[in-house]
């Protein structure tokens, strides 16, 4: 079906421009009212969700020639889903799904982006999203006495993720996570060198087959290991296991938790006690795929009821971002003694993207950094000294943007602060 299945949704777009802004009730002034990085950076309406849907509808109706500009529009989108939240405040229509389908169509039509092709080639060859990564995937765990979940029975599989496993600057997140889980007495393990990419970022890039290939391999490994719970410290990994695997009927009964959810539970259960003071003013950035796009998948099949209204039988449950993971990371931060927590304007379901998603960090790093700088400025405006996130991709792009801009803002993953506090 592809793009065709969203014909009715795309024709519903009335060009109201709500997709460009945070929900109107949440606008607090002239600043920080925009929510879509792509239209904010490139300005032509075609870069907004509304523009993309209208282009999609035109593609179906009249066919369109692929031009460099069209591909520029397609690939300069983080697929962060903020547009859908703002649209779906008022409208019943799919927004992100047709945008994603358009990208998939481009890949099927061999209109790919060379930088993303390279990433996918590496995924096929090495099983990771990090071209040029050297060393073994599980090398970071050397000497930490972590169980091998493929060989030993564990209650929890910690899926580390490609970036955290291979990036020397981010391996500290894996170590911190392991330390926290050990401190709480969790019977957990990792797959070490046998761990494979979750495939989530391949899906964002427009490569569903490659995603499915990874998903099937991961689920086979998990099944074989007899693991019932997976914890990820990467928002992309979380969304892949929790949402995408479910969408494609691969997840089964597997319980999927983000580390921030798990730490929150450990604190509430009294198994983890943040006692040491971490004196800093910090604000929290909601990763898109932990927040609005981390909302559980809702299986639905139905048909539009003929007639005047855009309604379906059975009623279509739209994923509007209300059920993402928002409070657990905040509760964890608020549980850290000495930490002064502040909020930015654009938060939770209408959070501004870090810039790294949708393959943009690879296909257009300058745009990714521009997007990150916008967020850094917003974080600084709260008076925070630190920007806390819960995804290594966010941390990576924020740090790259800070390095270039000279901002004094510090960036932490939530596990780094918890590690300091326990």
């Amino acid at each position: 079906m592809g793009l065709e299945q969203y014909k009715g949704d795309m024709e519903m777009c009335c060009r109201c421009s709500a997709c460009k802004f945070i929900p109107m009730q949440k606008v607090k002034g002239h600043q920080y009212a925009y929510v879509c990085p792509s239209i904010s950076r490139y300005n032509f309406h075609a870069y907004s969700a509304g523009g993309r849907l209208n282009i999609g509808a035109a593609m179906l109706k009249d066919g369109m020639k692929y031009t460099d500009k069209l591909l520029d529009i397609v690939y300069n989108c983080q697929l962060c889903g903020a547009c859908g939240v703002s649209c779906n405040y008022a409208m019943d229509m799919e927004v992100l799904e047709p945008i994603n389908e358009f990208r998939i169509k481009c890949v099927e039509d061999k209109k790919t982006h060379p930088a993303l092709d390279k990433i996918i080639a590496n995924l096929k060859k090495q099983g990771s999203m990090i071209p040029g990564a050297k060393g073994k995937r599980g090398a970071w765990a050397a000497g930490l006495k972590i169980k091998d979940a493929t060989k030993e029975k564990v209650d929890v599989l910690y899926h580390v993720g490609c970036l955290t496993s291979y990036d020397k600057n981010l391996q500290k997140l894996a170590k911190a996570t392991a330390k926290i889980l050990q401190k709480a007495g969790v019977n957990f393990g990792i797959a070490g060198d046998a761990e494979m990419c979750c495939g989530g970022r391949a899906y964002q890039m427009g490569y569903p087959k490659e995603f499915l290939n990874q998903a099937k391999k991961n689920m086979a490994m998990i099944k074989k290991a007899g693991v019932k719970t997976v914890v990820t410290s990467c928002a992309d990994g979380y969304q892949a296991f929790k949402v995408l695997y479910d969408r494609f009927d691969l997840k089964g009964e597997l319980k999927v938790l983000h580390i921030s959810e798990y730490i929150d539970k450990l604190i509430r259960d009294g198994k983890l006690k943040p006692r040491r003071k971490v004196e800093m003013a910090a604000t929290y950035h909601d990763p898109c795929r932990l927040g609005r796009l981390g909302e559980p998948w809702v299986h639905w099949e139905g048909k539009k009821i003929p007639g005047d209204r855009f309604v379906f039988d059975p009623p279509k449950p739209y994923r509007r971002g209300a059920n993402g993971v928002y409070e657990p990371p905040r509760d964890v931060l608020k549980a850290i003694p000495g930490l002064k927590f502040t909020e930015m304007t654009r938060i939770k379901e209408y959070s501004w993207c870090c810039g790294a998603g949708g393959g943009v960090i690879e296909s257009n790093p300058e745009f990714a950094k521009w997007t990150a700088r916008e967020r850094i400025e917003e974080a600084v405006s709260t008076g925070a000294e630190a920007l806390v996130t819960a995804c290594p991709w966010c941390e990576k792009i924020f740090n790259e943007a800070i390095k270039e801009s000279g901002s004094s803002l510090k960036v932490y993953d939530i596990v780094e602060l918890v590690e300091k506090a326990i």
């Binding site: 009715g8 024709e11 519903m12 009335c14 060009r15 109201c16 421009s17 709500a18 460009k20 802004f21 929900p23 109107m24 009730q25 949440k26 606008v27 002034g29 002239h30 009212a33 490139y42 300005n43 032509f44 309406h45 075609a46 907004s48 509304g50 523009g51 993309r52 209208n54 282009i55 509808a57 035109a58 369109m64 020639k65 031009t67 460099d68 500009k69 069209l70 529009i73 939240v85 703002s86 779906n88 405040y89 008022a90 409208m91 019943d92 003929p306 007639g307 005047d308 209204r309 855009f310 309604v311 009623p315 739209y318 509007r320 971002g321 209300a322 059920n323 928002y326 379901e349 209408y350």
Partner: protein, 489 residues
């Protein structure tokens, strides 16, 4: 028709490489026609330079704001004003704000609330430009239309910069009529930016006292944002009446007493749309409310400046409603729903949920005038909708119309929608026929003369205004590069 390379370069030298595009890929995002190019000017000087180039090369241009509506001929230069998004000034002392075209109402309103001020939010919604001329939910206290435009900066179709009213003789924006040139008859002929030929690049809008909070206490997640509490000295209610005459009696009484911050003659369908989060909920709520109302009605918000002021307004409201036999809709007395619709009407200006969500498209006939008169016309237009509802061509809203008081009821606005699926050409054709017929009936029965009515008959009946307007436009736009069109919001 693509621009010649050298012409393209001329435009590019004005706005920069990043801000001009003639690639066919971007066109469907704007409209179904292909344009010669889309250009994103960043300031008045760039608009002026683009307009002059259009005159030099005899290229037709049209400006656009957030892009919600508009009719565009093919092969034109489309000026997307998106980069002009600054609030130039908020003058608390003289009660005006100066904005560029791409400042949306929500942004300006949020800034104003912090200062105890508000302005007329137009019915198109707070997602549209703050410069928009028109009417909206708070017209009862903030008036509407050209009452709210003070001085305006206008790039004429030939590329001259005209500053109207006080701005023409000073750097002050406080008045549209002077000291300085009042060109209100031209500038307010339609909705800026875009309908009057040329481009409106800045406008001063009139500000009003806001008795409510500096920020609404919003809780929850989209699509169900609720108020954690109803702000102090504020209340929202929906009253239905035994007849149109009784409703009108109450409207007049409330206007005379000047107690309502908002008086919106919503029908049950519009109330249902605003307080629900999806179409299925909307339909169920509409059926529920339909059983609860006793007849036509209106929604009011009262906002007191103090507890005593609030108590007084509430008491007067209840007395006037009681005298007219009005009945409060119990469903809306639930504080959660009361808060939702209060916020919908003030912060969102309703709009999308009640217009586009049900079917995807709507056509409307809006009319200004005395409410008692225009309601009579609207009842007929509502009856004419019913066959379309029965055939399943338009959304069933009971054939209802709506409207509201302006300036405490001195004036009024009445409007009627037909909501339908844009994918259904039969429905679209039927709605357009209904629209034509009802506009014609309005003219023939002497209710009002619409710009969408039969111009060959309306013009002669109104001092040949259309011929005069054509002459004015020709004088302003000798090269014919700036056509009139539909409203651009």
């Amino acid at each position: 028709m693509a621009l010649k390379k050298d012409v393209y370069k001329e435009f590019e030298s004005v706005v920069g490489e990043e801000n001009i595009c003639d690639d066919p890929a971007i066109m469907p995002a704007y409209y179904s026609n292909k344009f010669a190019a889309v250009i994103l000017p960043g300031n008045t000087a760039e608009v002026q330079a683009v307009v002059k180039l259009c005159n030099k090369h005899k290229l037709v241009f049209r400006p656009i704001c957030t892009g919600w509506s508009g009719m565009f001929p093919p092969d034109i230069i489309l000026m997307d004003l998106r980069r002009m998004n600054h609030i130039i000034e908020i003058n608390e002392k003289n009660m005006y704000a100066v904005v560029e075209p791409y400042v949306i109402s929500s942004q300006l309103q949020a800034e104003l609330f912090k200062r105890g001020l508000n302005f007329c939010i137009k019915g198109a919604g707070t997602n549209c430009t703050a410069m928009l001329r028109g009417h909206g939910h708070m017209d009862q206290t903030t008036s509407g239309d050209d009452r709210n435009h003070l001085a305006i900066e206008w790039v004429t179709p030939e590329g001259d910069i005209v500053r109207s009213g006080a701005l023409g003789s000073s750097d002050e924006w406080f008045c549209g009529d002077g000291p300085g040139p009042s060109i209100r008859s031209i500038l307010t002929s339609a909705v800026p930016p875009g309908v009057t030929p040329g481009v409106f690049t800045k406008a001063a809008v009139k500000l009003y006292h806001w008795p409510g909070p500096s920020e609404f206490p919003i809780a929850g997640h989209s699509p169900k944002y609720v108020l954690s509490e109803i702000p102090a000295n504020m209340m929202a209610r929906y009253y239905s009446f035994p007849s149109v005459e009784k409703m009108w009696q109450a409207e007049i009484g409330l206007g005379e007493a000047e107690v309502c911050y908002e008086l919106m003659g919503f029908n049950a369908a519009m109330v249902a749309a605003n307080i629900t989060t999806c179409n299925e909920e909307d339909e169920a709520m509409f059926n529920r409310l339909n059983k609860e109302v006793q007849g036509p009605g209106f929604f009011v918000i009262i906002a007191g400046n103090s507890p005593a002021d609030f108590a007084y307004k509430k008491k007067v409201l209840e007395k006037i409603v009681e005298e007219a036999g009005g009945k409060s809709l119990k469903t809306l007395e639930d504080p959660e729903l009361e808060g939702i619709i209060m916020c919908q009407c003030i912060r969102i200006s309703a709009s999308i949920r009640e217009t586009f969500r049900p079917g995807g498209a709507f056509n409307s006939i809006p009319i200004m005038g005395q409410r008692d008169l225009t309601i009579k016309w609207a009842i007929g237009a509502g009856e004419a909708k019913k066959p379309l509802i029965e055939k399943g061509l338009i959304v069933d809203d009971g054939g209802a119309f709506f409207g509201w008081g302006v300036e405490q009821g001195h004036l009024g606005k009445t409007e009627i929608f037909c909501k339908y699926s844009p994918s259904n050409p039969t429905a679209k054709a039927a709605v357009e026929t209904w629209q034509r017929e009802q506009n014609r009936r309005a003219f023939e029965e002497r209710y009002f003369a619409s710009t969408m009515g039969p111009q060959d008959e309306i013009g002669p009946a109104l001092c040949n205004y259309s011929q005069w307007w054509s002459k004015v436009v020709k004088a302003l736009d000798p090269n014919g590069v700036s056509p009139e069109g539909g409203s651009l919001v």
